[in-house]
Amino acid sequence: MQNTEHAIEVTGLRTWYGDREVLKGLTFAIPRGKTTVILGGSGCGKSTLLKHAIGLLKPSEGSIKINGREITTLDEPEMDGVRGKMGVLFQGAALLNSLTIADNVALPIREHTRINEATLQIMVRMKLDLVGLSGFDHFYPSQLSGGMKKRAGLARALALDPEILFFDEPSAGLDPVTAAGLDELIVKLRNVFRMTIIVVTHELPSVFAIADYVIMLEKGQILFAGTLDGLRASDHPRIRMFLERKPEQQTYSPDDYFKVIAGE
């Protein structure tokens, strides 16, 4: 299994939504056992990229290899085998509202293994303790705060001890303190379990806290791929704008602006 140093290899990935090209031929590799951040402004295609990597969308062109295995041509049962090694934390945590936190975490274990109930309960409590949610087993998702929901979602993503863990906007909608707590948890997971972690985000503070490797996207193309120090040292104007939080330049002349508001 550990035959390559790259957990994920993407070559020539292209995708259209209708006739709009969202991803314009991406080629990159994500190193194993490190935290990779996929960075970019809104609408740059980073969520679409994540959905391709976890097999929810099929690309129009190109190849995606996870642990050396091509996933774009797999059918659903084969894909489920690959998904067994992956965990995903969605933006809104995506916990099932009809189940308790403990049942949510137990769900993938119950579906894929034949473990007796007592062992299962112990496993669930271990996962909840790992994310700092001991004692919340019998709460329903609606009774938890946003940060706690994300932690519970993370416990569920960790349920089957994945090799690769995906995060979609982990700090979206959280206050800075809670977001920092979640970042710390991500760092701990990489250090302790040697997991390959892929985080999609646009929050700069969390990028600097967690990233080993950064891939920056803009308008469906790769602007930068390299280490965090390389990103800091880059003098590419778009990257500087992003890092220094400068707004896009207003390029209208007064005449153009008049045309825009007149709807011409």
Partner: protein, 254 residues
């Protein structure tokens, strides 16, 4: 337009195929149906509908008896009220009334439940956990309605006929034993049986329409509401179409 229609048809056929596969075939390949969820759905869709189905059937039985008496007493054939109430309820009205109540209560609930899970990425989360959303969400509902719509129809038969009976013996001054005997003579096993076959088909139609509308949700809360409404409209429409089909079939072949 032609593109969206083609996509709608392919989505619908995928959901129908997958629903039947995960409900009837995969249990024999070692992926059992979720029994506890199925029982929970049966309670929600079946047991909790008993009061409303009972009340409506009772009133419809009374209405039928009154309307029949209005015509039949002119020709002095009042005793045939029993035939009319019994046959029209078991063959036609009980299945369709039950189906309309169930599509209002459960069909819309299915669309809303699946739709809001789709909007909150919960369906995507199921897929990434390697759990088929159709197996997890639709199969229990499909089994529940295939059992519960016929069961509610039987209840509706019994209560509707009792309504007609009570009206006839009180208002129309019929002898209870005569009414009873006339109903027994008028009803054939096939009348009841064809009604139950219809009800079984309606149960499938309601579940699949609700599931289809739910899985079609792409956006947020507003679309969940819109899809819920259209699931009720579409399932009542399709129930009537299927009713027409089955009634014609039974007319010629039984």
């Amino acid at each position: 337009m032609a593109f969206t229609l083609r996509k709608d048809i392919s989505d619908a056929s995928r959901i129908i195929n997958n629903s039947f596969y995960w409900t009837f075939i995969s249990p024999f390949r070692g992926k059992p149906v979720r029994v506890r969820a199925t029982i929970a759905e049966m309670v929600k869709a079946g047991y909790n509908s008993v009061p409303i189905v009972a009340v409506i059937s009772f009133f419809v039985g009374i209405i039928l008896a009154l309307q029949a008496a209005y015509q039949l007493k002119r020709v002095g054939a009042l005793i045939y009220v029993a035939n009319l109430v019994g046959v029209s309820l078991t063959r036609e009205l009980s299945p369709i009334l039950t189906a309309i109540i169930v599509s209002g209560r459960s069909g819309s609930a299915f669309a809303a439940e699946i739709g809001s899970m789709k909007a909150a990425e919960e369906v995507d989360a199921l897929v990434t956990m390697g759990i088929n959303p159709i197996r997890f969400l639709v199969s229990p509902k499909l089994i529940a309605l295939m059992v519960m719509v016929p069961a509610l129809t039987m209840l509706s038969d019994v209560i509707g006929i009792s309504g007609g009976f009570l009206l006839s013996v009180s208002v129309l001054d019929m002898h209870p034993y005569n009414y009873y005997q006339q109903t027994i003579n008028a009803l054939l096993v096939k009348d009841v049986f064809t009604g139950l076959i219809k009800a079984w088909a309606f149960g499938m139609v309601i579940t699949l329409v609700g599931a289809y509308q739910g899985f079609k949700v792409e956006g947020g809360a507003e679309e969940v509401g819109r899809r819920t409404t259209s699931s009720v409209v579409a399932s009542i429409f399709l129930v009537i179409i299927f009713d027409l089909f089955f009634t014609m079939l039974f007319y010629y072949f039984t």
